[in-house]
């Protein structure tokens, strides 16, 4: 009997062990590691952090589905689509961007278009998340709530504006949008205007020490830009006048044009007085490409460097077109743009005799071309830096590049096969002051104020004319000031001022040409062509000029009333319309 007792004891104790484990419910509570819960977020610090998260997509990178096509510079949607630039590289490298040059093969399944769409709506979702989380927080003072909300509404308007100009018919993703009430046939402009108006009401004059935040002037500028897209010139003009007279940067500097044109593209001079709103970038901040992507440098333009040589050694995309180079030809006597710059010898011709006349000095701050110094990287060698010269010509992008003397200080470091040296802390200008001045000129043209328009265009041209020391020279480049400190002019430059425009038509042409030259390779051109209603003739004329030499363009053709906007991504239509109702309607003729 004793034996039985002992066995029973063993058994009972085993059973107890089993039960103890059974009861330890805690054993199954394994919260995810390395994450934050919503309660932590619903505090002032949390909400401020979410706001930073909402800002962090301004550079066009940092959400799932992003890519080269979502970059803040809009190099694909605003540049390659226009007469500014070729896609570059081999035609089938980032082949999804080739249809933006050819048009005929552009359809709703194209892989580049969801990148931009994804970015815009991720930005909007983060904005809405800030508002929703802030509503749960109880420790945020009212004045801070107002400041946060104003920034959120600015950002939400910005993200939608980016979508609007690319896709045309977009749903406005504010906190009231649901899958059921989604309808992209409702005009989004009023909501964009409303968010910006609210932002203007709440944003401060400056943000000391935080130039990356939007101030009231940035919001006004964006609202003016919205009006320009809506052709509401009379609404835009007073805002533009206010901006020109009183505007200042978030850092507190009164708006003005930098003496040196290239200062606008120099990482050492970012957030200058000319910077109205820019995507902020940073490098060497632990977000290197080595770690699997999502870096904070200017990732959108990471491909847009000369091939094999020069700063990045990769990847040979976004090559300025021959047409763009030619458009910088100027009259030898007046220094004004030619009426037809595209006939006659080509600037830096790939073969035969090239153009030897006078050029607007901005050309060599806009592109690298053979024989001309490429910042301090030496003389641009032409096709030796081009991936596929047949399609890409012989010129390289320049406005997103950095100087050799700036390497390491403004570039990322790492050992990825390619990437670190093309990742730059070079801000992407979203609105710069020159842009504002030229909108004012446009408004004046439309109001037939020819003197005003002339004055504003000449204001832009004077910067270049008044500072010949800031023209590209054969000598030493000083990256601190974005100017060469020695040597002769690298080419035969000339720039002059317009006499008062003779007619509204002449003024309109001059303003448009000025925008083309001043803002070339800044991702603005295609959107300008569309809002001016001249995309089809301009792009098709450009294709006609270039197709003989460029196999990729051999069957290119821009279709009016279709190609002005990108198609809505098919996957998004499939997802939204999966309930059987057409919430997303495809853009016309796609």
């Amino acid at each position: 009997m004793k034996k039985i007792k002992r066995k029973f004891l063993i058994l009972s104790s085993l059973a107890i062990i089993v039960l103890v484990v059974a009861c330890s419910k805690k054993f199954l509570d394994k919260p995810p590691l390395g994450t934050l819960n919503p309660q932590i977020m619903a505090t002032e610090k949390g909400v401020q952090g979410l706001l930073i998260g909402a800002y962090s997509l301004v550079d066009g990178e940092g959400t799932s589905g992003d890519g080269f096509a979502s970059g803040a510079s809009n190099w694909i949607f605003g540049g390659v689509t226009s007469d500014d630039a070729y896609k570059g590289s081999d035609p089938t490298d980032v082949a999804v961007a080739a249809p933006m040059e050819k048009w005929v093969s552009l359809d709703a399944t194209n892989g580049a278009i969801p990148q931009k769409w994804a970015m815009g709506y991720a930005g909007a979702a983060r904005c809405n998340d800030v508002l929703a989380t802030m509503a749960l927080a109880s420790d945020i003072p009212a004045d801070k709530v107002a400041l946060i909300e104003a920034q959120v509404r600015f950002l939400r308007a910005f993200y939608h504006f980016e979508l609007k100009k690319v896709f045309g018919n977009i749903p406005y993703a504010d906190e009231t949008l649901t899958p059921e009430n989604t309808d992209n046939t409702v005009d989004a402009w009023p909501k964009i205007e409303a968010d910006l108006t609210a932002a203007i009401g709440g944003l401060p004059d400056t943000w000391p020490g935080e130039p990356g935040r939007a101030n009231v002037w940035a919001a006004k500028a964006l609202l003016a830009k919205v009006y320009m897209f809506e052709h509401k010139y009379t609404d835009a003009y007073p805002i533009l006048t206010d901006l020109i007279n009183n505007g200042k940067t978030s850092g507190g500097a009164k708006y003005g044009l930098n003496d040196h044109f290239y200062s606008n593209f120099n990482p050492a001079q970012k957030n200058s007085k000319e910077s109205v709103f820019a995507a902020q970038t940073s490098v060497q901040d632990n977000s290197s490409v080595d770690w699997g992507g999502d870096p904070n440098g200017n990732y959108g333009d990471i491909l847009n460097f000369p091939y094999t040589g020069g700063p990045g050694a990769c990847c040979g995309f976004y090559n300025p077109s021959q047409s763009l180079a030619n458009s910088f030809k100027v009259d030898a006597a007046t220094g004004l743009p030619l009426a037809d710059p595209y006939s006659g010898p080509a600037v830096s011709a790939e073969s035969g005799t090239g153009y030897s006349g006078t050029l607007d000095p901005r050309i060599d701050w806009t592109m690298g071309r053979p024989g001309i110094p490429y910042l301090d990287w030496g003389i641009h060698p032409g096709i030796a830096w081009i991936r596929n010269p047949t399609n890409d010509g012989n010129k390289s992008p320049l406005k997103n590049v950095y100087a050799e003397s700036q390497k390491d200080a403004y570039t990322d470091v790492g050992s990825a096969y390619w990437g670190p040296t093309e990742l730059v802390a070079n801000n992407v200008n979203i609105i710069r002051f020159a842009d504002v001045i030229l909108w004012a000129a446009e408004c004046e043209v439309e109001a037939n104020d020819l003197a005003g328009a002339t004055a504003h265009v000449n204001m832009i041209r004077s910067r270049m004319m008044d500072h010949p020391e800031a023209w590209v020279k054969t000598g030493t480049y000083d990256a601190a000031s974005a100017a060469y400190t020695s040597g002769a002019n690298a080419d035969n430059y000339k720039i002059g001022l317009y006499p008062t425009f003779a007619s509204q038509d002449a003024a309109r042409t001059a303003v448009r040409t000025e925008r083309q030259l001043e803002l070339a390779m800044e991702g603005q051109r295609f959107f300008d062509l569309v809002r001016w209603g001249i995309a089809e003739p301009t792009v098709n004329a450009y294709i006609a000029r270039e197709k003989a030499a460029r196999p990729l363009k051999s069957d290119a053709h821009f279709t009016a009333n279709k190609n002005e906007y990108m198609p809505i991504p098919q996957s998004e239509i499939d997802n939204l319309n999966s309930d059987g109702t057409e919430h997303l309607k495809q853009n016309q003729n796609y």
Partner: protein
């Protein structure tokens, strides 16, 4: 509500145990009867170490050296079971006798072999489920470095896809693909969750694969099947010492047939001529009617004596001087070698009735055919068992290894050297004139990396693992019919690595920048604790066993790594994190999860004829919200041994026939993680930090919503039904086993497509939860057969084979009826669609090449159409080729896979060979993208493409016209085309060996029991129509080389090939 549910569940638990105690007390009866006797073999000699057990109890003993035994039988037991390896198990009814002598017969069938299945051991003939029992002896014959590779083709229903990479991971799938994502089976080693990868195959005693209801006892972990491994234990008797070793060489294989320098140059000329360039030009090959091969490629196209070719002017950055390889570099040969491999394994084992031990040491050194690539593993195993009194046993299984296995690059990717070997131009030499690397920085030659430089630069990288895998157990027999066993064990994996990133100055891309050094470490751990209570009894013809148990499983791991840039010296001795002077970054991660389970199982048989097994498991998993955590997984299987029926006794050619049927519900949590139930936020520099202050290097870190939770998510449920039979026929010479199964996965854990995943609602910015929707179904047949024959006195042979077939069908995908898999180099190749098998290739169907302008004009309108390019099929017949004409163009799933094993012995000679094959699968050869379309990326060209592409005079060609700029008619605008699809069937001889066992008479004076020597060839030949390096293609691994999913499955993106090895080996026993 939640508390109420808990209370109910707890209440049930109490009931459960109450019932169990009642069972215990009802069996308390005591009485005894002592039986003695002697066990002899067929030759009349005593059998030493045979097990004598009292049937239906845990009472057992072993025979002494003279074959005698003594056992005390409880009162109402009267059957003794005698067993010994190699002999038939015999059962003897004592009928009150006190002396029982038994003559054992040699085993002619394996039906009495005892195998471990789901927490219990059963004789093969009592198994009711679909269980593949691996022939371990045959399995060990294949000389490979990992457990998965050894298992390939050895178990019906199990698909293993390996690569030639020593120590590389393999795809393991049991009965096909049944989930979008992880399909890996559960691996149990000595009762605890472990892994197969680094096991020393010499230590394996037995290996079983549970494929149907037999896996239901593992509940939520059983859905993808269970592989159960038992390692060796010491056997009763004197110490046995074994040495097994081999040494050999893996040959480097044939590589690719690429164009030489002249052919490549001609092809470049042809490209331009085809595109109407009257006078072709190229930076290297000049300008003119024919290409001129230069003396130098840097300076580009330079002739001897040209400026900057004087070695005195050499500068690695500004004036690298590289001579042209005028004949052509064979890059495959440059990166590969004949690689030695060796394995040595020494084991000692012994045992008595009180204790036993098995101890082994293993050393494996498998050099890869890729230079500098290798696997070295040092391992030790110590398994011991002790009996404390008669009824208590304790023991442990311990395995530790140290391994060095640096990554060779990522298999199946365009960066690894097997891929760059088809991308780097033939004219580029390995070295420039100063012995630095040559490369694509020489103009006009594409953008590939130098394949040899890439390999050579990895030679000082380190990757090391220290692992301990093991378990301890205690077991007690009590109250005659009861056994309680507790097992605790698991895996501790420590990994450590460092690598150096050199600046590849020779490449077209990334030739500037900084060098950098990365160092990191991490650990993964898991433990399992299970407690099992077993009751077994036989009452007359009724045999039954009842098992109840609990199990707790815990997983936890962390890692961290760091990088610094700008190392002044690239000498490996200088590489520590603080000697870098440039930017630094770091990363880390952690995970945890747990599982708590209770389960029960009943095994019942009546008269050896009717067999019934039933099991039920209740699992609680931490990855689900508290309300959804618990799931029940039942399984039932039954078998009818029809050959035992009287009416069947007349069918004399059938020795044994068993019909089986099973049904079970299993689950899976493989594709869901602990973040799933929660709404979460995260901070990540690239996603949520912003340089709001414009500092260039100091962004402010913000937050973003990282996860959208779904507290409703619960188990993925699989219903698996299986019907089959096992037969032994023709006088025990032929064993056949056939199973038909249907595995229906419902509530597949899947991210629901629809508005929630739309970008519009931020559905891609945050990770969407997995929800229980989506159905998939596999049906298939597993078949295996073995024939044992004897011819004359000395010739014995065995022929065996197994076939696995599965037909996969996606039954439903929620939201949209399809989704596309991620793009491979911007090209979408695979679409998952309802009604189609997983991973189906999707794109345009090429019906030929346009032959003339007239042909183009008569064909449906197609963008970029011209003579010599692809003519796509107008699938919807609307007269134009557009996205609506994409269709399913191939299926990566094979119709069946098979293994064939043939062996024979003649006197002292033995021969064995093993074939493995796959039939009916398609391969998408994505390397053709690089080799056949020089317009895509310049660089090397496949010889066939260079010399036999379409031209107006070579219209029979299959390869489209070479041109300078691609377009829709060759690149299909971001989708695949059938041009890249090949038949993927193959049959490979995995191993073949001839052995000779020295006559014992020669050896006995040296104390040697057995000495066998053999020569072997592995991967000797492969029969296939596939033209790539190797038709056996695994899924894309992650950046650490792990294969978790079936991502990019069936696509050749550059895989490490299997090549023939030749070995010499010894088996020695003392």
């Amino acid at each position: 509500m939640r508390n109420h549910v808990d209370y109910l569940l707890k209440g049930k638990k109490h009931l459960f145990f109450l019932a169990f105690f009642t069972l215990v007390f009802s069996s308390l009866v005591i009485a005894q009867n002592r039986v003695t006797g002697k066990v002899t073999g067929p030759d009349g000699k005593p059998v030493f170490g045979a097990t004598v057990a009292v049937k239906g109890t845990n009472i057992a003993t072993t025979t002494t050296t003279d074959g005698s035994y003594a056992v005390t039988m409880p009162h109402n037991s009267n059957v003794l079971v005698f067993s010994y390896i190699g002999f038939e198990v015999s059962e003897v009814n004592v009928r009150g006798n006190n002396t029982i002598d038994v003559g054992m017969k040699l085993q002619t069938t394996s039906l009495n072999e005892v195998v471990v299945t789901g927490y219990t051991a059963q004789r093969k003939k009592d198994i009711t489920g679909s269980v593949s029992v691996v022939n371990v002896a045959q399995m060990k014959q294949t000389p490979v470095g990992t457990g998965e590779e050894a298992l390939q083709g050895r178990a019906s229903g199990v698909t293993i896809i390996t690569s030639g990479n020593p120590g590389g991971n393999s795809d393991i799938r049991i009965r096909g693909i049944t989930a979008f994502g992880n399909n890996s089976p559960l691996i149990i080693v000595d009762g605890v969750r472990a892994n197969l990868h680094d096991i020393n195959t010499n230590d394996i005693e037995s290996m079983q694969v549970l494929k149907d209801a037999s896996a239901a006892i593992y509940g939520v972990a059983g859905s993808n099947g269970v592989i159960i491994i038992t390692t060796k234990k010491g056997r009763t008797g004197r110490a046995k010492v074994s040495y097994d070793g081999y040494y050999g060489t893996t040959t480097h294989g044939n590589g690719y047939e690429m164009a030489n320098t002249q052919e490549e140059a001609n092809a470049i000329w042809l490209q331009q001529l085809n595109d109407g360039v009257a006078t072709p030009t190229h930076p290297q090959f000049g300008t003119g009617p024919t290409p001129v091969i230069p003396d130098y490629i840097t300076p580009a196209g330079a002739a001897a004596g040209a400026p900057n070719t004087d070695p005195a002017t050499y500068d690695i950055n500004s004036n690298q001087i590289t001579k042209a390889n005028k004949i052509g570099t064979n890059w495959y040969n440059e990166i590969t070698r004949n690689a030695p491999m060796q394995s040595h394994n020494l084991s000692v084992s012994a045992g008595s009735d009180k204790s036993s031990y098995y101890f082994s040491m293993g050393y494996l050194n498998q050099q890869g055919i890729l230079k500098y690539n290798f696997l070295k593993r040092y391992s030790v195993r110590a398994n011991t068992q002790f009996s404390i009194k008669d009824h208590i046993r304790v023991g442990e299984n311990f395995y530790a290894f140290y391994k060095e296995n640096p990554l060779f690059g990522r298999n199946q990717s365009e960066q690894n050297s097997f891929t760059t070997a088809v991308r780097e131009s033939a004219i580029i030499p390995v070295y420039d004139i100063m012995g630095n690397y040559g490369g694509t920085k020489s103009q006009g030659l594409g953008n590939s990396g130098n394949p040899y430089a890439d390999v050579a630069r990895t030679k000082d990288n380190k990757s090391r693992n220290w692992d301990i895998i093991g378990s301890v157990f205690g077991e007690v027999d009590f109250l005659r019919h009861f056994n309680f066993r507790t097992t605790f064990g698991g895996v501790i994996d420590n990994n450590y690595f460092y690598n150096f990133g050199y600046v590849a100055y020779e490449n077209a891309e990334g030739n500037t920048g900084s060098n950098s050094f990365t160092e990191g470490a991490g650990y993964n751990s898991n433990w399992t604790w299970n407690n099992l209570l077993t009751y077994s009894n036989s009452i007359k013809e009724h045999n039954f066993r009842v098992l109840v148990g609990t199990e707790a499983v815990n997983n936890y791991g962390r890692y961290s790594n760091a990088t610094r840039a700008n190392y002044f010296s690239e000498n490996p001795d200088y590489w520590i994190l603080n000697t870098g002077t440039g930017a630094q970054s770091n990363a880390g991660g952690a995970y945890q999860s747990s599982l708590w389970s209770q389960f029960g199982k009943v095994e019942y048989s009546y008269a050896g004829k009717y067999l019934l097994n039933a099991s039920l498991r209740r699992d609680g998993a931490s990855v689900f919200a508290e309300d959804q955590r618990w799931g029940y997984f039942p399984g039932v299987s039954a078998a009818w041994v029809i050959s035992q029926e009287n009416f069947f006794k007349t069918v004399t050619f059938v020795n044994n026939l068993k019909l089986r049927y099973s049904w079970a519900k299993l689950g899976s949590t493989s594709n869901v993680d602990g973040t799933n139930p929660f709404n979460l936020y995260a901070t990540r520099l690239g996603k949520s930090a912003y340089d709001i202050a414009g500092t260039n290097t100091g962004p402010v870190s913000g937050f973003y919503r990282s996860n959208i939770g779904n507290p409703e998510t619960t188990w993925e449920g699989d219903i698996i039904t299986n019907a089959g039979f096992d037969a032994v026929i023709l006088n025990n010479k032929l064993d056949i086993s056939l199973d038909w199964y249907k595995k229906k996965v419902s509530g597949l854990l899947f991210t629901k497509q629809g508005p929630a995943t739309a970008y519009l609602f931020g559905g891609q910015d945050a990770q969407q939860p997995k929800v229980n929707i989506g159905d998939m179904q596999n049906t298939g047949i597993d078949f295996s057969a073995t024939y044992h024959g004897t011819v004359g006195k000395d010739f014995k042979f065995d022929v065996g084979g197994q076939i696995t077939s599965y037909k996969n069908k996606i039954v439903s995908i929620p939201g949209l009826p399809f989704y596309d898999e991620g793009a491979v180099r911007n090209t979408i190749l695979q679409r998952e669609q309802e009604g189609k098998p997983f991973g189906s290739f999707f794109g345009y169907k090429v019906i030929g090449l346009f032959q003339s302008a007239d042909d183009v004009a008569k064909s449906p309108t197609q963008d970029d159409a011209r003579p010599g390019v692809f003519k796509y099929a107008d699938i919807n017949g609307d007269g134009k080729i557009d996205v609506d004409d994409r269709t399913f163009i191939g299926d990566p799933n094979p119709d069946f896979e098979y293994g064939i094993n043939i062996s024979f012995t003649y006197k002292n000679f033995d021969f064995s060979t093993f074939f493995f094959g796959s039939h009916g699968n398609d391969i998408y050869n994505n390397l053709l993208y690089f080799t056949d379309f020089p317009d895509f990326f310049k660089g090397a060209i496949r010889r066939e493409a260079a010399v036999n592409s379409w031209t107006p005079t070579n219209t029979d060609a299959k390869i489209p016209l070479l041109r300078t700029t691609g377009g829709f008619s060759t690149d299909a605008a971001g989708y695949g085309s059938s041009y890249f699809i090949s038949k993927g069937s193959y049959l490979r001889n995995k191993q073949m060996q001839i052995g000779y066992t020295l006559p014992p008479s020669l050896l006995s004076k040296y104390g040697i029991e057995r000495l066998r020597i053999y020569v072997q060839a592995a991967n000797l030949f492969t029969i296939t129509k596939y033209e790539g390096l190797d038709p056996e293609l695994q899924s894309q691994p992650d950046s650490n080389g792990n294969i978790f999913t079936t991502f990019e499955y069936g696509i050749d993106q550059g895989s490490y090939p299997h090549t023939p090895s030749f070995l010499f080996g010894i088996n020695l026993n003392f």
